[in-house]
């Protein structure tokens, strides 16, 4: 047992070995996941099977997985990437074995039944889960378990997408939110190990087989820029539609959760009955389009139908990701744009296949919002370097448009809809003298949302603060200021409840999760920024796991003291609030 003795000498070596173990095991699990899904699909849709299957199977698939998800595996719903981020950032790296089993079972069934979702996001959660289970059972410290989460994510994506470099990039760019993260070495190790497992079982075939495309004429870059605009707009439409639909589903009674996924199954079933290529992740059809087999009207229609199908499937609570569908939408939009361009400028443009290739990256950059990963991923998926420059231009434009029209990324927005606030790049900005945790203090007084304005004024009479948290049965609902109470009294609304008062306040809408708040890991710089923009000198500090869970408050004076400035500073009244993370 010499090697174990050596391991005792260094925690780093242990993490390194565990990274390799996680990489291999996640590779095996992911290969199994891919194969099981394929086998199930082959049985659900046998060769020469009749058309009614295309309607019935997705409905039954959604019904059965909907029941399982609601009853046994509530954390296996959706993509898996926000869940992996949640585990990493908020939940001390905890993903249960039950969630892994549920994700495998439900995703295999729903993807095989033809729902328009992808396998990559779920694989990431499964990979992170395997890492979490191994780390926790091996008795690692919380920080070490958390360090294994990106290792599992990287390994899963490398095997699910056959893109080992992009898997590492994605882990750093999206999961960690930091391209300089210290887990780079272990992520690379696990990605490589997992990729080798994939190749051992499934061979050395790229996901897509693409002819060698090249830039036909320098002026063609203009067309690729147009594709960037089209891809960016399509991405925004997809993200906004998905989020809007999901918000509606979330408002439905909790007792309907088990049946909601059927709506996705029905939509896919109906669309798939008439247009079978809308079903499933659609990689075979992408492959055909990439090889130039594209009819203009059909690819444009399929792109639009896929947006509707995937948004409905995801929003209704089915298990599956949006990676694969993003590529499909991008490829169809690209082929449509390329088809039109080639019709009008045949001398200076490549065929639709080249645009489909660039379109995939463009949609990925616009929807997932990881531009570096997108470029590397397209290169790895296709092993074609010659189209990289147009791809970069198109990606940058799509990313810019998407960022402008949909400031919150899709994964963060999805998490926010669940009351989870994950840190964004903005939250990692200038730190100032420290973070919110340093100056956070317990809330000395929490007002009830049911209390009247008069009663509240009585309660805060002796308080030295200018604002107080208001809580209802479901948790924190917002912050109310002394001036808000005084104004309500002046309007002869002293009998109103605080809940009703908050409804009228621009910065404190109790009906949503959008009140201004801070998280303990936020920088003091950001705290000052939010106080300035909201007009609150006191802000609540809430858990990242739930915005309703009050952890304390931050007072402006305390922040200024931390900066070395003592005394009260006037805060502008009622400017536009910033609630994001």
């Amino acid at each position: 047992m010499n090697w174990l003795d050596e391991l005792r000498q260094s925690e780093n070596q242990l993490v390194l070995v565990l990274s390799l173990v996680v990489g291999i095991l996640v590779g095996l699990v992911t290969v199994g996941f891919i194969l099981v899904t394929g086998r199930l699909a082959a049985h659900m849709y046998p060769a020469g099977g009749s058309g009614w299957r295309r309607f019935l199977v997705p409905v039954l698939g959604a019904l059965s997985t909907g029941f399982l998800l609601a009853k046994y595996f509530p954390f296996a719903r959706g993509s898996g990437i926000p869940q992996a981020k949640f585990a990493l950032i908020v939940n001390d790296g905890l993903i249960t074995f039950r969630t892994i089993v549920g994700k495998l079972l439900c995703c295999s069934t729903s993807l095989a039944s033809g729902l328009a979702l992808g396998r990559e996001g779920p694989s990431v959660q499964i990979g992170a889960g395997v890492a979490s289970v191994i780390g926790r059972n091996a008795g690692l410290k919380v920080e070490q378990v958390k360090a294994l989460i990106p290792v599992g994510c990287s390994a899963a994506l490398a095997a699910a997408f056959n893109t080992p470099i992009a898997a590492v990039m994605f882990t750093l760019e999206e999961i960690m939110g930091d391209l300089h993260a210290t887990v780079l070495g272990t992520a690379v190790l696990s990605s490589a190990a997992s990729w080798m497992v994939l190749h051992y079982f499934l061979g050395d075939d790229p996901l897509f087989h693409v002819p060698a495309y090249r830039l036909v004429h320098p002026e063609e870059l203009g067309i690729y820029a147009v594709l960037g605009v089209v891809g960016g707009l399509a991405s925004v439409v997809f993200v906004k539609l998905l989020l809007a639909m999901r918000a509606r589903f979330l408002r439905l009674p909790p007792s309907t959760v088990w049946i909601q996924p059927v709506v996705g199954g029905l939509v896919v079933g109906l669309l798939g009955y008439f247009y079978p290529d809308v079903m499933g992740v659609g990689y075979n059809y992408i492959d055909r389009v990439l090889n130039g087999d594209a009819v203009l009207k059909m690819v444009a229609l399929l792109g639009l139908l896929k947006i509707v199908a995937t948004a409905t499937c995801y929003a209704s609570g089915n298990a599956g990701g949006i990676f694969g569908p993003s590529l499909f939408i991008g490829a169809m939009m690209g082929a449509a744009t390329g088809g039109v361009a080639h019709k009008f400028f045949p001398g200076i443009t490549a065929g639709p296949g080249a645009y489909a290739l660039v379109g995939m990256g463009t949609a990925f950059a616009g929807i997932i919002r990881t531009p570096f990963t997108s470029v590397i991923m397209i290169f790895e998926l296709t092993r074609d370097y010659t189209i990289i420059v147009p791809l970069m231009i198109s990606n940058a434009i799509a990313y810019f448009i998407s960022q402008k029209l949909q400031p919150v990324t899709i994964y963060d927005a999805l998490a926010q809809q669940d009351g989870i606030h994950l840190p964004s790049a903005h939250a990692h900005g200038p730190t100032g003298p420290g973070n919110v945790k340093l100056v956070m203090r317990p809330a000395p007084l929490i007002l009830s949302a049911q209390a009247t304005v008069q009663a509240a004024l009585q309660e805060v009479k002796d308080s030295g603060l200018e604002a107080w948290p208001v809580a209802a049965q479901r948790g924190l609902t917002g912050m109310v200021r002394r001036t808000d109470l005084a104004n309500a009294l002046a309007r002869e609304a002293g009998g109103l409840t605080l809940g009703a008062v908050l409804d009228d306040l621009p910065a404190g809408n109790s009906a949503s999760n959008a009140f201004v708040h801070l998280h303990p890991d936020h920088s003091l710089h950001l705290a000052l920024e939010r106080m300035g923009s909201s007009g609150f000198s006191v802000l609540p500090v809430v858990s990242r796991a739930s915005v309703r869970q009050l952890m304390g408050i931050v007072v402006l004076d305390d922040v200024l003291k931390a900066y070395g400035v003592v005394g009260q500073t006037a805060v502008a009244a009622n400017p536009a609030p910033a609630t994001g993370d």
């Binding site: 690692l140 079982f201 061979g203 075939d205």
Partner: protein
């Protein structure tokens, strides 16, 4: 105080590693079984699509066949027969760019694959890129074939020869025919095809040898008689050609081409002053007739630009035509008349175009030899 590294390695680590190893071993077994099943089923599915594609090809439904072959490829990418079939279907469907790209991928994997090179050569030939086509035909001829290599190589060389014949590249064609003659099957159809190509390559003597052998082997072979007639005709052996054409016409009375060839041969023979067996008087009369025809042509079609320098020749010809030649000098006169006719013909050639199979042209050409 305990080392924090040691606290990490509680018995739980051993237990975890044991279970991980167990899980990994189980997954290896499960994945292997699933992967094998997947490979078998996709391979069967691919074969089914391939057969479907072949059936569609036989029905000349090339685009649908291409779709079937694409599905076969999607199911089994490592089988080179499928992209080859797709390339051929796309070629037949007229989708040349896609065919080119499909076959290029195939050739990238194995540049000396005979069948792929042959298909690529056909694509370039159809695109009109003859140099590229010839390049791939050569690679097909010297490439590797899975089965029946010799027959396939001969087939490829014949296709190249046909291409060169269409391009009228005589020297290159002859260079292909010489090895082909050694390799090709002795069956009459192949030999006949070879001899025809020799004719196009400008080597009627080799063609005549082949046709003669065929006639010798089968006196009732009308095609061989006809071919031999053509070869003899090209060699200027009009009498022998006449005899072959007569045999061909007799054996295949409905053969209009042989009949026309026979008529032309008759016209040449009736005009030819050099024909064997003619009496001196007859030979002289024919030379006068030939000279008269040349002079008539000159007066009909010569432009003033060419007529001026040719005027002394025309005058000499007219003098020869009006001259009375005693029987004893007619033999020399025949030669002089034909010589004069040839010179005048050379002078008026620029203005007076005649079809290559015009009897006068043929007679003058033979006389000039």
């Amino acid at each position: 105080m305990a080392d924090p590294g040691i606290t990490l390695l509680r018995p739980s680590l051993f237990r975890t590693l044991f279970f991980v190893a167990l899980a990994a071993a189980s997954l290896v077994v499960i994945d292997s079984v699933l992967a094998n099943t997947e490979r078998k089923e996709t391979s069967l599915e691919a074969a089914r699509f391939y057969r479907q594609g072949e059936s569609l090809m036989q029905q000349h439904r090339y685009s649908e066949a291409a779709d079937s072959f694409r599905s076969a490829i999607a199911n089994a990418r490592d089988n080179p027969d499928y992209p080859l079939a797709l390339g051929q279907a796309l070629l037949d469907a007229g989708q040349l760019d896609e065919a080119n790209s499909t076959l290029a991928d195939l050739l990238q994997a194995d540049s000396m694959a005979g069948a792929a090179n042959l298909a690529m050569a056909r694509v370039f030939a159809k695109e009109g890129q003859f140099e590229q086509a010839a390049f791939y035909y050569h690679r097909a001829i010297y490439g590797q074939w899975k089965q029946d290599a010799s027959a396939n190589q001969i087939r490829a060389r014949f296709e190249l020869a046909d291409l060169l014949a269409r391009r009228n590249s005589k020297a290159e064609l002859l260079a292909e025919l010489l090895p082909l003659q050694e390799e090709a099957s002795p069956d009459p159809a192949t030999q006949s095809r070879l001899a025809r190509l020799y004719m196009i390559a400008g080597s009627p003597s080799r063609a005549a040898v082949i046709f003669r052998d065929q006639v010798r082997a089968n006196l009732l072979d009308a095609e061989a008689h006809r071919g031999l007639g053509d070869a003899e005709f090209a060699l200027g052996n009009y009498a022998a050609a006449q005899s072959s054409f007569i045999s061909a016409s007799r054996l295949r009375s409905e053969d209009q081409d042989s009949r026309k060839a026979l008529e032309l041969t008759d016209q040449v023979l009736n005009l030819d002053p050099m024909r064997r067996g003619l009496a001196g008087q007859e030979r002289y009369q024919r030379s006068i007739h030939v000279l008269q025809l040349v002079v008539d042509k000159a007066t009909q079609c010569m432009t003033s630009a060419h007529a001026q320098p040719a005027a002394p020749l025309i005058d000499s010809a007219r003098a020869a035509l009006s001259r009375r030649v005693p029987s004893s000098s007619q033999s020399e006169a025949v030669e002089a008349n034909l010589d004069l006719a040839n010179k005048l013909w050379q002078a008026e050639k620029a203005d007076c175009k005649l079809p290559a199979d015009e009897p006068l042209q043929l007679v003058l050409a033979k006389a000039a030899q």
